[in-house]
Symmetry: C2
Subunit: 475 residues, 2 copies
Amino acid sequence: MVEQFIEYVEKHQNDFIERLRKAVAIPSVSSDPNRRQDVFRMSEFLIDELKALGAINVETRDPGQQDFHGTPLPLPPIVLATVGNDPAKKTILVYGHYDVQPALLEDGWNTDPFTLVENDKQQLLGRGSSDDKGPVLGWINVVEAHKSLGLEMPVNLKFCLEGMEESGSEGLEPIIYQEADKYFKDVDSVCISDNYWLGTTKPCLTYGLRGVSYFHLTVQGPARDLHSGVFGGTVHEPMTDLFALMSKLVSPDGKILVPGIYDQVRPLTDAEEKTYDNLAFEMHELHDAVGSAINIHDSVRGVLQHRWRFPSLSLHGVEGAFYSPGDKTVVPARVVGKFSIRTVPDMGLDKVTELVTKYINDEFNKLNSKNTMKIVCSHAGNHWLASPEHWSYVAAAKAVERVYKVKPDLTREGGSIPITLTFQDALKRNVLLLPMGRGDDGAHSINEKLDRSNYVEGTKLLGAYLYEIAAAKAE
Amino acid sequence: MVEQFIEYVEKHQNDFIERLRKAVAIPSVSSDPNRRQDVFRMSEFLIDELKALGAINVETRDPGQQDFHGTPLPLPPIVLATVGNDPAKKTILVYGHYDVQPALLEDGWNTDPFTLVENDKQQLLGRGSSDDKGPVLGWINVVEAHKSLGLEMPVNLKFCLEGMEESGSEGLEPIIYQEADKYFKDVDSVCISDNYWLGTTKPCLTYGLRGVSYFHLTVQGPARDLHSGVFGGTVHEPMTDLFALMSKLVSPDGKILVPGIYDQVRPLTDAEEKTYDNLAFEMHELHDAVGSAINIHDSVRGVLQHRWRFPSLSLHGVEGAFYSPGDKTVVPARVVGKFSIRTVPDMGLDKVTELVTKYINDEFNKLNSKNTMKIVCSHAGNHWLASPEHWSYVAAAKAVERVYKVKPDLTREGGSIPITLTFQDALKRNVLLLPMGRGDDGAHSINEKLDRSNYVEGTKLLGAYLYEIAAAKAE
């Protein structure tokens, strides 16, 4: 039956591209209030598609209103849909989003961003092609294939589609918690297709994400900004203290200098070390991505381990200081240094805050400054690590081998995808990240694309994954 | 004759306040293009006053146009005027400015900023009362007194009045150089009344200013801003390097860490040390000015020496980094740290740049970073030091004793007044800074004021100073 499905996808790929063309034509930019109507229009497009394919139950949840710089804006609905409800089958929840990043031709796009264009490299160019309309439609294509073929779906599918992902998923989290025992009650596992292959040649399964703890380090001195001519040399300047403190956080080669941080990092075992063999990534891909040969580590293994499984600390900026071009001789009265730590297992959020707070306080005391200092963690999101031995991962790996004839890379990511943790925490179920697009798709850049092959083989992969789940259950 | 003059000023003080009221009523804010017409109107007011008093020659020079963010704006004229041209007398050039800082009632003024109001402390409140309309009119009052009394002026006076001082004196410098051998040919000395007493109780003569050398320290890494989740820990981050370098410039207690800087500083002699005895300044005045007890030095002597005669280094900000409220996990691609050094005799501008450049390069090399670094001096203005033994200072000191019955403080300032150096360099003449207002006048703040006594006694002082010059010449 999976063969029939795969054949159908191969044959009907141009129809699927038509579906993607229609979706890309709706400029559902969630960050632009003038496009909010289009985000709603995109939700209706999906609801219509799902209803037409006989999803037995299409519902929406209203996340309410957004406070957009003081103006209330209605939030687009969470679209929930169910395909099949056979208690004998596993139930897989798929998450995706139907909003997109902003895009303007004048940003440097070669073609109109909201008109899907296939170039001579068989790449489908358009905003949202890869992030995340292609993958969302991939699931719908799977349902269409089964309906057209008169085939029973191998599992029950539930959809959860949101329209605010590119704007912080506003309003989604409470709904997931509310529906955990209701709409999502029978879910056995969650699959999210909203990330990318490590490189451009080999599919991957993603089983880990780093967390992030963000800090605000405030130094306050005078009651108001001062003139450096009149006061320079006579008063303790907050900027001097701030730079002294922030320079002690991380070394130029990326080592975190906060004592105790590395004690919390799970040791690298031989078994884990082996997972870094043969990953489809080369150093030039890092250089290309950053536009410069500024790698700290000389091996690909070193790069990926420091992206995925070691913590890092970055200095982001200073609030309250002079930031414009030109010269200004101000002594800022109150400055807030911003930095964050990317966290990994087994670092505890509270422990990280405790270590940073103690260290910064100790270092500030050494300065003998008369200024006042405050360090707070403004935001903390946990790291996430799933087991690649879980049946959902095993099924996905088999599906990759069936469709692509290779074993997938097992990857993690350096950034965070907060919704992953939310699903895990709210539903207490395994979450699999199963990407459709390639590492060079340019999801948030100009000329976003999804290769035709990734869309077509990706649709096959999503379906094959469901068959492998059903097969595993039957064993 | 000086007694007659002083009596006249005492008697006619309310007329002089009327003159100041008319001047304050013209909102000649040079930084606001919508007020540019008022700046011109203010120049006409002064020209009319000078002509009415029989200045033998009132001319203007046109500095041309200003490029205001792409829009050309006409610059207000430089007003030149001559009172007396007796070759047997000394010729004193007085400089002042007729533009003012911005001021809005809603900034927190207690009264309309452009309506002169005398409060119950006999303070004349209004924008420009002290900076610099009061002093400019002080000179005009002196001329009026002589004309009314039928008295001959003790010296020849030349005026040079500009309308762009609060906006960088745009267009003035070339005119001073052009007129050095022409309109300013016979000038023997220059007097500027555009600064303030050290405190609130005792007049001063100001004979020194610090210079300033401003630096831009650029670190460039990736070709574009990066996401700290994806790249944190794998690439050399420009912010890390920048903070490492800038933290090595100055210690929390204000010591400049650039090797060799202090070798250039003129040693403090016993004679100079004595000039710091009995200065009218108390520690609470520093605390009041900055709104916090963050003094580095415990003695007034230490505070003033570090304001006036030792160099200082301040960190001003970072261009290119995150500076808004909130959290953003950006790794900035290119950041420019801004800092400046206040310079003093005998520091050479080129030597300062050389020492800073070498030090920063050495420190950057120690970082072993793959980023690129560039350090440039974006602007350098020299320090200035006049001799308090010059006849112009001696005359001013005697005039203070005559009017105020005290010996003036001999002060320097920590900031720079670039026009002082321009006059000295262009005319090769001594420059005296002879303030009229007090240290708490709030020149650039809300509720700017000039005490009635400072305006009246200050007018007497300016006239008495001219008499002392004439008397000294006669000796």
